[in-house]
């Protein structure tokens, strides 16, 4: 058997497109007791301006997240109360470019599927229920205001982007969510909660028949009324909005972030997406000389890390950590980036990082939660997990070197520091 073929078989799952436009991904996992289900829409915090059937809609920050909370309420009761009757463990989350509703259950799967499909398919909002939610979400916003990591990340986005909605918190602010009306929420549902913008992914102790029956009960087996949607994304400069930013918080060690504003990754460029996934490990991961030096000299703690983000209209590479000598860390990090750009990445390191990513792809299909999440995520990025494995197998060091030459330009970088508050 050719290398990677065994892995390709391991990431198999069934893909169906229903007459309503809904994509269904099913991965039965023999021997497992539980099922994890994800019902997700490609609608997140950055989708703030759009046209739906000719009507222009402009949302205040935080609507996608607010809507996620409100979806749990319907005219005939709270979805959590309904899940309590099935024993399912349910939740939801909102990201920059998606919102997902999930449950894990080991019994009464059909009933849980009815709750999941029903709550998202039949939204119900009133001014009174909206007002109640503003209090709870206000508390959530305040909790994040005290989080060093979150404040650091948001400050980096706010420094890089002048207009892109990444600069606003996923949950919005107390002031922005106060502007939310039932009409806005219904507009979002019409534009983004239509079946063709959604994916239903299930993994575990489940059959295709069970899923299809549930979709039929919810009417998803019939064509849905066409809706014309146009996303409006503001024009964004290639350069950062501001280069440096400092805030203070009641902490004892400076938190720092170095971010590079990159060109958005065009849809379908899977090779580039995978290179983004590899980059942090190639530059500052545990196997790199840079990490070892920073670690041994006591300049960073093990939480020092890099990550990348790719959404519509934006892509960036972020390095974050805590240090009492953050200027020195930033200097060494910048030097290493320039060295790698000039000399190319080390061959052995590239092979090892690629190996790791291969292992992760196999591991991700082991648990019902990770499998369903990976399937849904791949679909929302316009690919399959098999595409990912195949592209990874073909990736060369030269591909990465070529891509790196156009990235991590010092002129596109921003530095953010969170300083200990002076008493």
């Amino acid at each position: 058997m050719k290398p990677y073929e065994q892995a390709a078989r391991t990431v198999e799952y069934k893909t169906l497109t229903l007459p309503s436009g809904l994509t269904v991904l099913i991965r039965p996992m023999p021997g497992y007791s539980a099922v994890h289900a994800i019902y997700a829409t490609k609608f997140g915090a950055i989708d703030r301006d759009f046209k739906v059937d000719g009507k222009e809609v402009h949302l205040p920050a935080g609507v996608a997240h607010f809507l996620e909370h409100k979806m749990f309420e319907s005219e005939d009761g709270d979805a959590f109360a309904k899940y309590a009757k099935t024993g399912a463990n349910a939740n939801a989350y909102t990201g920059f470019d998606r919102t997902a509703y999930i449950f894990t259950a080991s019994s009464k799967i059909d009933e849980s599927l009815d709750v999941l499909l029903g709550m998202v398919g039949n939204p119900y909002f009133t001014p009174q229920t909206i007002q109640k939610e503003q209090g709870i979400i206000g508390q959530e916003i305040k909790m994040y205001d005290d989080s060093v990591d979150w404040r650091l990340m948001m400050a980096m986005f706010q420094s890089m982007y002048e207009k892109h909605p990444l600069r606003d918190d996923i949950a919005g602010s107390v002031e922005s969510i106060a502007q939310i009306t039932p009409e806005m929420l219904y507009d979002c549902c019409k534009a983004f909660y239509r079946p063709e913008n959604m994916v239903l992914a299930l993994a575990g102790n489940i059959t295709e028949k069970q899923v299809m029956d549930a979709c039929r009960r919810e009417g998803l087996d019939k064509p849905s009324a066409p809706v014309k949607v146009e996303r409006l994304m503001p024009e964004e400069s290639a350069l950062p909005w501001r280069r440096e930013y400092e805030i203070s918080m009641p902490i004892v060690q400076t938190g720092f972030g170095l971010a590079f504003k990159e060109q958005p990754v065009e849809k379908g460029n899977l090779k580039r997406e995978i290179i983004y996934d590899l980059l942090p490990d190639l530059i500052c991961g545990g196997m790199t000389p840079l990490y070892r030096r920073l670690y041994d000299e006591g300049l960073v703690n093990p939480e020092f890390d890099g990550e990348t983000l790719m959404v519509d209209g934006a892509a960036c590479v972020l390095f974050t950590g805590e240090s009492n000598q953050c200027d020195r860390v930033l200097e060494l990090l910048r030097e290493e980036i320039q060295r790698i750009k000039a000399q190319g990445i080390e061959e052995e390191l590239f092979t090892l990082v690629k190996n790791q990513l291969y292992g992760e792809a196999i591991v991700d299909m082991e648990s019902v939660v990770d499998a369903a999440s990976s399937m849904a995520s791949a679909h929302q990025h316009g690919r399959t997990l098999y595409d990912g494995i195949r592209t990874l197998a073909a990736l060369t060091k030269e591909d990465v070197d070529r891509e790196l030459a156009t990235m991590l330009d010092p002129d596109t970088s921003v530095v953010v520091k969170i300083l200990p508050q002076k008493s």
Binding site: A7, K85, G87, A88, M143, D145, R292, D296, N301, E322
Partner: protein, 425 residues
């Protein structure tokens, strides 16, 4: 599942892992937590994780793990009541996924047992340079504890609540004692661990017989004298204390600690699970539904309890001006459960959720291992999750009340802005 005794206080447990893509080996060392060497014991996992006799360099070890397709090696410390558990674990993809036909199982076993039993030593002691680097890392971790206010609040509350008991000994040691840790003191605590700990090796997938032989060879040179572990404990009832600490923060944190007064036993476990689910451990709980959803008094408000320490913790994130109101609301929900009505519906909703969780235990390597290792720590006969469900099904409303009635409110710890402290409320 099979658990066999290999040497005094050393056991090997073999668990099925056929359906998984990974295999896993864990080596648990459980021994009484001692105040005098707590800081050295906190440095130990950090130094062990850097490498071992055959691969002393941490970067080379990282590369070796990446070569094994991103195998995951961890050395971690946890506390089980008055005992410390240091766990070396490794997990990685099964042999069938190896691209060049490598015997991954053998490599995993070699690394895990090597890290646990053959550390890198220089003249019989740990590498002093590695020890100094990891001491610095521990000191940094201890210094930056206040960055996470939720965790910090719970830790501060625990420090006061458990004062004077074995459960008060810090998992991460003490900042002021970090400088005194040396390569020599670290070796002493390592020797105490390998000679006196109860050792449990759990093998999931891979070749357990081969691991057994390798383990026996590791034990051959050791003078094993397992120490008696500290039993379940409980703090005495005290007068209610309120403590507060001030930070310029947006959301206040409130941690409430309760004692069960006398040690809990394994027989209390399932009733305690259901009681927590009902009080504040689930989305069907009174704290979630009433204090968060109906009264909007907190964003999170959760209760947990440990049978090993007989302690119940309620921690919440609250509006600074509402801290006292939130505390009263939490106590009211507790009181209502102790003396008021508990409907069949809410009791069964909570039970159903726990049962569903038990069904899913066998769907992850870590979940399954944790299920059995916790039974080992509690000194119980090992039963499968489906047997465990039977015990949960037998819990009655009165069992739940008995658990909740047994708690006494001992301490409220509030982290808030100065103008919102208890004194000014």
């Amino acid at each position: 599942m099979e658990r066999i005794n290999i040497a005094p206080g050393v056991y090997l447990t073999r668990l099925e892992a056929e359906k998984f893509n990974r295999q896993r080996i864990s080596i648990h060392f459980q021994f009484p937590n001692q105040r005098e060497d707590a800081t050295a014991a906190a440095v130990l996992p950090l130094v062990l994780e850097r490498g071992w006799a055959e691969c002393p360099d941490m970067t080379q070890l990282s590369r070796q793990l990446a070569r094994l397709y991103g195998a995951n090696l961890g050395v971690d410390a946890t506390l089980n009541g008055g005992n410390r558990v240091i766990t070396v674990d490794i997990s990685g993809i099964k042999n069938e996924f190896a691209l060049d036909g490598e015997d991954l199982s053998a490599e995993y076993a070699k690394i895990a047992l090597g890290v646990a039993f053959h550390p890198y030593l220089i003249q019989g002691e740990f590498d002093p340079e590695a020890v100094e680097i990891e001491k610095q890392k521990l000191a940094q971790r201890l210094e930056t504890e206040i960055n996470d206010k939720r965790l910090y609040c719970v830790r501060q509350a625990r420090r006061i609540f458990f004062a004077g008991s074995p459960a008060a000994v810090e998992r991460d040691g003490y900042l002021e004692e970090v400088p005194q840790v040396t390569a020599h003191t670290l070796k002493k605590v390592y020797d105490r661990m390998v000679s006196t700990a109860t050792i449990d090796v759990m093998v999931q997938g891979g070749d357990a017989d081969k691991v057994k032989k390798q383990l026996e060879s590791c034990l051959a040179g050791l003078n094993r004298q397992p120490a008696k572990l500290i039993e379940n404990l409980a703090m005495p009832v005290t007068e209610l204390r309120h403590k507060e600490e001030y930070f310029d923060m947006v959301q206040a944190k409130l941690c409430m600690m309760f004692t069960w007064e006398s040690p809990m036993t394994s027989a209390d476990l399932n009733a305690a699970r259901l009681a927590m689910s009902l009080f504040g451990g689930s989305v069907s709980s009174r704290l979630f539904l009433n204090v968060r959803e109906k009264q909007s008094l907190c964003y999170y408000c959760a209760s947990t309890c440990s049978t090993m320490t007989g302690a119940m913790v309620v921690d919440s994130g609250v509006e600074p001006a509402n801290a006292k109101k939130a505390e009263a609301a939490i106590l009211k929900e507790w009181e209502n459960l102790k003396t008021g009505e508990i409907t069949d519906e809410e009791l069964e909703d909570c039970r159903r959720s726990l049962l569903s969780g038990m069904d899913a235990v066998g769907d992850s390597l870590e979940g399954e291992e944790n299920w059995y290792y916790m039974q080992i720590c509690r000194g119980e006969p090992l039963v499968s999750p489906s047997k465990g469900k039977e015990a949960l099904l037998a819990v009655t409303r009165e069992d739940v009340r008995r658990i909740l009635k047994g708690f006494h409110y001992s301490l409220g710890y509030l982290l808030t802005r100065k103008e919102n402290g208890y004194e000014t409320l």
